[in-house]
């Protein structure tokens, strides 16, 4: 079935099209992770998506509009319900805490259409998934997508402990022969060199988890002769709090102060300046912004700009990067 036409009454957006939803289920999975399920308010079907896609969840937290990307972990072919699984981050900026503590069953929220920056390469002969902690979520959807076509995949999933093994029981029950679990508190770890050695030609690696894990997998694969095109990664980047800083927007003629707990992108949006965006996590490149003048130090945190672009001081990704200095003038 076709996806419904974009709802013309949905709010306009500089990101992907938006969908108004109601929270249809809140399911605590363990001490840290809760699943949220959504249904459309207009009764239409959700668009199908491809495994690895995320949605940007818009949260109205008092005066503050939070927009956080979360991987869709429901079945990509399921058009009645979307689901995300959210790990509570007590040290974060508050998006996950808002979901965990303030969002209630029946609440209305806004989701973006799915955007995939971590899709399967369907030319692969075999898909090798490596997950760390909450990094399991995109694989939940990818596994369902591949199972529908009897795809060849294998999961290696590292968790802190059995108590925090999100979806371990479900995965092991359904796919006993394809799922391998490693618990930190039992001193189990992925023997990566061994795992990568002897994988059939045409295997693609997908890694999602903490930065250290992603770096380790990419480095190890490169040393073992794996081409970059066969190694895919998705890192959860959230804007980090930081020292407030002042910015002037040349085109809009506005000056603003970026607060400790908001990103530069959010601060611009607060004043009605709307740069394009998709991932809000330093990966997609949509919000890339030219720097017209600067006197200070850039705190680049994105995965988008090349190293020379970062050191040149002429570009910034306002979704995750910050600035420490006297003058910053942007072409917005």
């Amino acid at each position: 079935m076709n996806a419904p036409a974009p709802n013309s009454t949905a709010p306009k957006s500089m990101g992907a099209e938006k969908i108004e939803v109601v929270v249809s289920a809140i399911i605590p999975l363990n001490d840290l992770v809760t699943r949220f399920e959504f249904k459309r308010i207009d009764g239409c079907q959700f668009p199908t998506f491809s495994g690895g896609a995320h949605t940007v969840v818009e949260m109205q937290d008092g005066d503050l509009t939070r927009m956080n990307p979360y991987s869709l972990m429901s079945d990509p072919a399921e058009t009645q319900t979307y689901a995300i699984s959210v790990r509570r981050d007590d040290q974060g900026r508050g998006g996950s805490l808002f979901l965990h503590q303030k969002v209630q069953l029946g609440a209305t929220m806004t989701l973006s259409f799915p955007v995939n920056l971590f899709s399967l390469d369907l030319r692969a002969r075999k898909h090798l998934f490596i997950a760390g902690g909450i990094g399991i979520t995109p694989f939940m959807a990818q596994i369902k997508q591949l199972d529908a076509v009897h795809g060849n995949w294998e999961l290696h999933y590292s968790c802190r402990s059995p108590d925090l093994g999100t979806y371990v029981d479900e995965l092991c029950a359904k796919h006993a022969h394809s799922v391998n679990i490693y618990y930190d508190d039992k001193n189990q770890s992925i023997n990566l060199e061994n795992l990568l050695d002897g994988q059939p030609i045409g295997t693609h690696i997908y890694v999602c988890g903490p930065k250290g894990m992603i770096d380790w997998v990419r480095r190890t694969a490169t040393l073992a002769g794996w081409p970059d095109a066969h190694v895919h990664h998705e890192e959860f980047l959230a804007p980090q709090p930081g020292k407030p800083f002042a910015v002037r927007l040349a085109k809009s003629g506005l000056s603003l102060e970026v607060g400790e707990n908001e990103s530069l992108l959010e601060a611009m949006e607060r004043l009605g300046v709307e740069p394009p965006y998709l991932c809000r996590g330093g990966a997609c490149g949509q919000c890339e912004t030219d720097v017209l003048e600067s006197d200070g130090t850039f705190i680049h945190r994105d995965h988008w700009l090349e190293d020379d672009e970062k050191s040149s001081g002429i570009k910034i990704m306002p979704c995750v990067s910050r600035f420490d200095g006297k003058v910053l003038v942007l072409d917005r």
């Binding site: 390469d121 040393l223 073992a224 095109a229």
Partner: protein, 200 residues
């Protein structure tokens, strides 16, 4: 001189680099004719690769075979044509595991077909190293009858299958490993420019 610098062209046209040693579990080097020189150059930079290298060479009348054998690769095969070497290439690829590095050197027709085999085995084409050496003759597909003509060195040329007069385009298909030849006198049959040698 076996090195030719191709002029800039449309995006579709393959571009070739210079083979460089890369870390890998094993190495597959396929060359024809003067492509052997690219492998010899590579071996000078990294002679230690050879202990894990399989060389497949199609000499086509050239005399590089003994020099390649002197590199002492783990496996060496020489075949009279790409078609003759094909079953071996397919077998090597089907048995291969990740960590394999693929190096292709020589004519565009050979490299295109070998790349196509690696792609069909599930290897991303961007991860295959290529270096052009020797003849600039092309493997052409007639877009009308779909017949393939090997070693086309003049433009326009006559399709060896349907006989149409074909213009040699830079438009390339990785899927069939051939450039596209398009009828040059469709609107005015018989009005065919004099053929000239490619890049002359």
């Amino acid at each position: 001189m076996s090195v030719f610098k191709f002029p800039e062209s449309i995006v579709s046209r393959p571009v070739y680099g210079i083979l460089e040693p890369r870390p890998g579990r094993s190495h597959l080097m396929i060359a024809d004719c003067e492509g052997a020189e690219a492998i010899l150059d590579l071996a000078v930079q990294a002679s230690d690769l050879m202990a894990n290298t399989h060389i497949i060479f199609i000499p086509n009348g050239t005399l590089f075979g003994p020099k390649l054998q002197e590199l002492n690769p783990a496996q060496y095969y020489e075949g009279p044509s790409f078609a003759a070497a094909l079953s071996r290439i397919q077998r090597v690829l089907s048995d291969a595991v990740m960590g394999l590095q693929i190096y292709l050197a020589g004519t565009e027709g050979m490299m295109g077909q070998a790349q196509n085999e690696a792609m069909q085995a599930g290897f991303d084409y961007t991860a295959i190293q290529t270096e052009h050496r020797g003849s600039v003759a092309r493997r052409m597909q007639c877009v009308h009858c779909k017949g393939i003509t090997e070693n086309v060195i003049i433009d326009p040329f006559e399709c060896s299958h349907c006989g149409l007069n074909l213009f040699v385009r830079d438009h390339y298909s990785r899927r069939i490993a051939a450039f596209q030849g398009v009828c040059i006198d469709a609107e005015d049959p018989g009005n065919v420019p004099t053929s000239v040698e490619l890049y002359s």
